[in-house]
Symmetry: D2
Subunit: 245 residues, 4 copies
């Protein structure tokens, strides 16, 4: 993308904030605004960041928004089922053509993540005030740049193994929890011409998206997932006999 | 599965054989019967093999058949769109719970393969009487056991890169074609508790499923893909605080 | 190897047992005999198991022993430097030709493991009576068969990340420790025609090799690492022009 | 490395050029100068490039040169055995601490590549005026940016499978040859904190390093392999009990 800023769209479900007083208190402008602010302030490349939510027109992602998005981040929880299948089709098509996707926390059960993974994306969980430690197992990965190991999150929902995902192309972070569980908390895949990153820390009930280390990881992931060239659908080419003779 | 024979179901679309005289001549009992026969005669473990086709009741795969199948092989071409979405759902659920799946040739564009991969599964192709050479790049892989490198297929449809799949967990075979193209022709993935193998040689217009080496690979893949334990859905467990204290 | 039993050689350094009273008490016949006994009793295939130690003639592994070994297990700690370089050369050559290798615990710093990995194989550690929980992250892997997740080891030395190894071809187990650390405790690689497994639980100061779950993993790893065909050096072939014309 | 230029050192054996008239004619300043020139002119980041050869003092790579090198490229053929073991030790240590390494063509048999891979690095070969086609199988990889697929090399030595390397972390290019062979010609690995790329096209007897596409790949690989932070030896940390309590 050369010297153009990376265009990031932060998609948030935006329902907990309207419904739950404690969430509204932690995230008065919505979790998505807090996430967007973290990317704006900590990205190690030029970025422009906007937000989109489920209750906006076109569920926040009409064609023109997707076409102008280099990297989409996704947070959902209560309303995965309300996301239109045709939107999932369009997001998948954009990822396969090169758009980056960063899936956050409970987004593991979003339609788009399950679509791109092909598995159930189920996991073990417990809401019990665990302390999470996020350890770097690939210190050279761009998403780990400048991130202390371990990153200490004092209170967090527990996500544990077995996490039913395809083996990541690159495993970057592994977490432990007070209860003794472990979790592959930072995972990278390529799908088509697009890059996908999943990062598990983050929950509506805890102030995780205000945590400087968590924000650094998400900002790094947004920069890492940006495509290096223009969007391109994989062609279905017919090569005549004798093409290379 | 211990000492029980591996129960293989060979699914074939079964349409070309009814429509195209040359296919009926090459495969008088249907491609599926030829594939089944290859597995029966060349598997290096005890197997029982049956066939199922699109035009059978329940598209050949009612629940009781799937429940009694350890490994399913899949060949389709003309009628991918006719396969019912609810059947694709059921096959995916069985694979994630442990059933093996071996996808053959034009099956790269089946609904079930695209569902499990999450990508377009598009590729370059040409029907031009190429000679295909299948080279082993992982000689220790069980699917390559007893397979000469290269395996020479005198006449074959060309499938070439870029093949839009997730990076294979294990890359076993790479092919070249007379036209100079290359193709990742033997690829393995894990999805949930199930194993998936894709093998590209095989076409309705060429006698490829009579080729001893091709039959050996498919028989090996069926044995490799067999689950080692009973079918099991990944549970979504709730672990109470203090579980391991 | 068909119906022949898998020939396992358990190599042990055998020094702690002579020097440290507490080790001698935990392992009166030597750690190697305890490890060998676990493989004999819990392997899910026919095996014959013998032991070899550093202080035996030829450091326990003269040519005829290696030639008659399908899978070698390796435990060392105090005396890595005493292992002869020419023995390391010979073991490497056998692994590349197909012999399996299972490296245990402090064997991460053996010459042979560092030789096959190409990295420092350094890790974080602490001897502090941690409880280790070993979680399965690849439930379909043959080395995880019949192993509960988590496997609970009440007292154990801590090994933590960053573990300086090449990214495993297959990551099977991840451990957590009371101190909050995590570790990739079960890792598989292919090197040449041989399979290599590293499994970290096990220490001279704790009775870990008497633990049924640990023994199951090591027995599974020995069976998994066994070659499927005769030993074979990778040839450096000259193929004449026109080979496949 | 932020805005500092990437410091590349192109190491060349430099013997063919002195001995063989045809090589001297193809590469009047030495292959290394042609390689260096390609990186200078086609790198998509700021670089400073210098050359070093076997017959220079300290075999071209005294400590101060290595310390000031972000990425080292390596071409050798006739004199692999003359490279001092202590130099191989020093280069390995620098790679594990973060220095990038790009290994070219016959460098597959260099001591440093075999040291980092742990395998024989043997391959099939033939010097028979083959045409090589280099196909991209990972179009999103930075090393493939701006590289046509296939890249056509009219005359080239054949390198074919089985290539005895660890499975690459990322497979970027696969080649075919006129004789029908295939080869994993562009492979990426991480070793310690350093990145390693192997690219096979290039031979003293053909003008391959004057080929614009080949030069683009090598320039891309040099930029890709550059470390993102300061050199760092993996510490062997002692973490006291209660570290995270």
């Amino acid at each position: 993308m050369g010297d153009e800023p990376i265009r990031v769209t932060v998609w948030g479900e935006g329902r907990h904030e309207k419904r739950d007083a404690n969430v509204a208190e932690l995230y008065p402008d919505g979790m998505h605004e807090t996430i967007a602010d973290g990317i704006r302030s900590q990205a190690r490349a030029e970025v422009t960041v906007r937000c989109a939510t489920l209750d906006s027109p076109g569920q926040g992602l009409p064609d023109e928004v997707l076409a102008g998005t280099d990297v989409l981040t996704w947070w959902g929880h209560l309303a995965h089922d309300e996301v239109a299948d045709e939107l999932v089709d369009r997001v998948q098509r954009q990822v396969l053509a090169g758009m980056g996707l960063v899936v956050l926390h409970s987004g593991h059960w979003s339609k788009i993540f399950k679509r791109l993974m092909g598995t159930s994306c189920a996991l073990r969980w417990r809401n019990g005030d665990d302390r999470e430690l996020v350890w770097t197992v690939d210190p050279t990965h761009p998403v780990a740049a400048g991130v202390p190991s371990p990153l200490v999150i004092d209170r967090q929902e527990m996500y544990g193994e077995f996490f039913d995902i395809p083996a990541p192309d690159e495993l970057v972070f592994v977490s432990s929890f007070s209860g003794g569980e472990v979790f592959r908390s930072g995972c990278a895949w390529r799908r088509g011409r697009g890059r996908v990153f999943y990062f598990s820390p983050g929950d509506q009930d805890y102030p995780v998206y205000h945590h400087a280390g968590v924000r650094q990881v998400i900002a790094n992931a947004a920069v890492w997932a940006a495509p290096s060239g223009p969007r391109e659908q994989t062609p279905i080419a017919y090569a005549a006999p004798g093409w290379f003779e």
